[in-house]
Amino acid sequence: MPTPIASEAEMSAFLARAGFILTPEQVAEYVEAYGYIVEMSARIRGERSYMAEPAHIFSFPTEESAR
């Protein structure tokens, strides 16, 4: 289990922005899960060039683009 690095206040802000209404007890249940999410968020970040675009931006199939 990753170290929980998020405060419940931080999570509550995210949830309020989304319009999801949770009790403090429910928010507390997600602290452990949020630790995993923060850990994965760090994992997908790295040095990339400007040209490292999101997947599927104008990746037409070969047969289609050859027409």
Partner: protein
């Protein structure tokens, strides 16, 4: 009631020879449903009248002019997130109680056109994610090898129904492993095709850019026969591929001589060490392929966690966008585990999503390069036998990477094929994957392994069959 369970190809041969009628076959399946469904909960809706009508229609057509396809008169089931005209389609959710679509999904149309007999709508996790759940209007499906064990999901009913012979084949959907997981834990074959090969039109989304529809059946050959009916361009699906459909059965029986099999040892040895029975299955597959004349090549990829992390953000945020309105309006109608997944979406940022898409592009390129020198890659399907159904951790999609998500992320085809049994008598599986639109060679390699091993000879003990490996 007969205890013999036929595969699709076996039944098709008997039907073609006039030795079996679709009506007789359908009644055999219905009898098994009556006997085992109370324990398995594989169906949300059993369409008994529709099945009998389909069977009679198929029988008349076959008597008049012979079968039009190997699926003509074959009883099948559809995961209950696939729209069926005039038939309840629940997505296993209280949100969809009473939802009766006015049109069939494209994949349902394709199987109907091939002459199949629709037995019913099969159990899923709620909106194809998050189970097992015990707080939904319908119970979760149970594993026919041991009904106290999990089927995996989300195509849980399809896995159970095929393994128990309630249907001869079925459709599942796969966003992070939802075809291949149940195939692995229920001891059947499950194929996730290349993204875009099978239309998603009329199927409830789990995550738009990761969703795949594919066949689940007892054998590789049966999956090939079903894929033949399902593949092809559909303008109703904006991501539908425009490629010609090859003969997916062409390579079956050609063995593995000359094939190059890449092995992803890092994933099952380091990133998520698998149980001894799963490792034994992988080692046996390597030995089998070598003995069949294939070349084994070790290939290197990034850690499985890299693929899973990118897949997590993409699937979570796309799911959240799809079901945001329901979550805002009636969150109490969701089961706890699906509501968890929607809460996760609120805890991700826009930058998380875009960074995951950028990482996805890098990982697609990495995997494409690694696969350039091989025909298929070999890894595990699931890390162990099925766990007890009441002991699946709440955060099971967060704390450990799975072996399947990588091929959703890259869109490449992948198949799970049984590779033995563990110490609890439950099935274990290997997973093979191929380059985009490489289903024909993928099926060839899977079929070669299947034919060289005895694992298709044993059915779940609850069926009371005498056959044993």
């Amino acid at each position: 009631m007969s205890t013999d369970i036929l595969t699709i190809s076996e039944a098709a041969a008997l039907i073609k020879a006039g030795k079996l009628s679709p009506v007789e076959l359908t009644e055999m399946c219905l009898a098994r449903v009556k006997a085992f469904e109370p324990e398995l909960h594989a169906f949300v809706t059993l369409t008994e009248d529709r099945a009998r009508a389909d069977a009679k229609k198929a029988e008349a057509e076959i008597k008049a002019s012979g079968p039009t396809s190997p699926l003509h008169g074959i009883p099948i089931g559809l995961k209950d997130i696939i729209d069926t005209k005039g038939i309840l389609t629940t997505c296993q959710s209280a949100h969809n109680i009473g939802n009766v679509p006015d049109a069939d999904a494209t994949c349902a149309v394709a199987l109907d056109a091939a002459g199949t007999v629709l037995m019913g709508k099969l159990t899923t996790h709620e909106f194809a994610d998050g189970g097992p759940s015990f707080d939904l209007p319908w119970p979760p499906s149970r594993n026919p090898w041991n009904t106290q064990r999990f089927t995996a999901g989300s195509s849980s009913g399809t896995g159970a129904a095929v393994a128990a012979g309630l249907v001869l084949g079925g459709l599942g959907t796969d966003t992070g492993g939802s075809i291949r997981g149940p195939a692995a834990l229920c001891g059947i074959v499950g194929l996730k095709p290349t993204y875009g090969l099978v239309s998603r039109a009329g199927v409830a989304p789990a995550a738009y850019s990761l969703d795949h529809i594919g066949p689940m059946a007892w054998t590789t050959q049966d999956c090939a026969l079903m894929l033949q009916a399902l593949a092809g361009h559909d303008p109703a699906d904006p991501a539908s591929a425009t490629r010609a459909v090859p003969d997916y059965t062409a390579g079956l029986g050609k063995g593995a001589k000359g094939l190059k099999v890449g092995v992803l040892s890092r994933w099952h040895e380091t990133d998520r060490p698998v149980a001894p029975a799963v490792k034994a299955g992988i080692d046996a597959a390597i030995s089998t392929y070598e003995s069949l004349g294939a070349e084994i090549i070790e290939i290197k990829l990034s850690a499985m966690q890299e693929y899973n992390a990118a897949g997590f953000f993409i699937s979570t945020v796309e799911r959240g966008a799809a079901y945001e309105r329901m979550m805002l309006k009636n969150p109490e109608k969701f089961g706890q585990r699906y509501r968890d997944r929607l809460v996760f979406a609120a805890l991700c940022t826009g930058m998380d999503y875009v960074q995951a898409l950028r990482r996805r592009r890098e990982l697609i390129a990495e995997m494409a390069a690694a696969m350039a020198g091989v025909d298929v890659v070999l890894t595990a399907g699931n890390p162990d036998e099925a766990p007890p159904i009441d002991q699946v951790p709440r955060w099971d999609n967060l704390d450990k990477p799975n072996f399947t998500m990588a091929f959703n992320l890259t869109g490449m085809p992948a198949i799970c094929v049984p590779s033995g049994f563990g110490p609890n008598g439950l099935p274990v599986s290997i997973q093979l994957a191929a380059r985009p639109f490489g289903e024909a060679v993928l099926l060839q390699a899977a079929h070669a392994f299947e034919q060289a091993t005895p694992w298709r000879q044993r059915r779940p003990a609850m069926l009371g069959l005498a056959k044993a490996a």
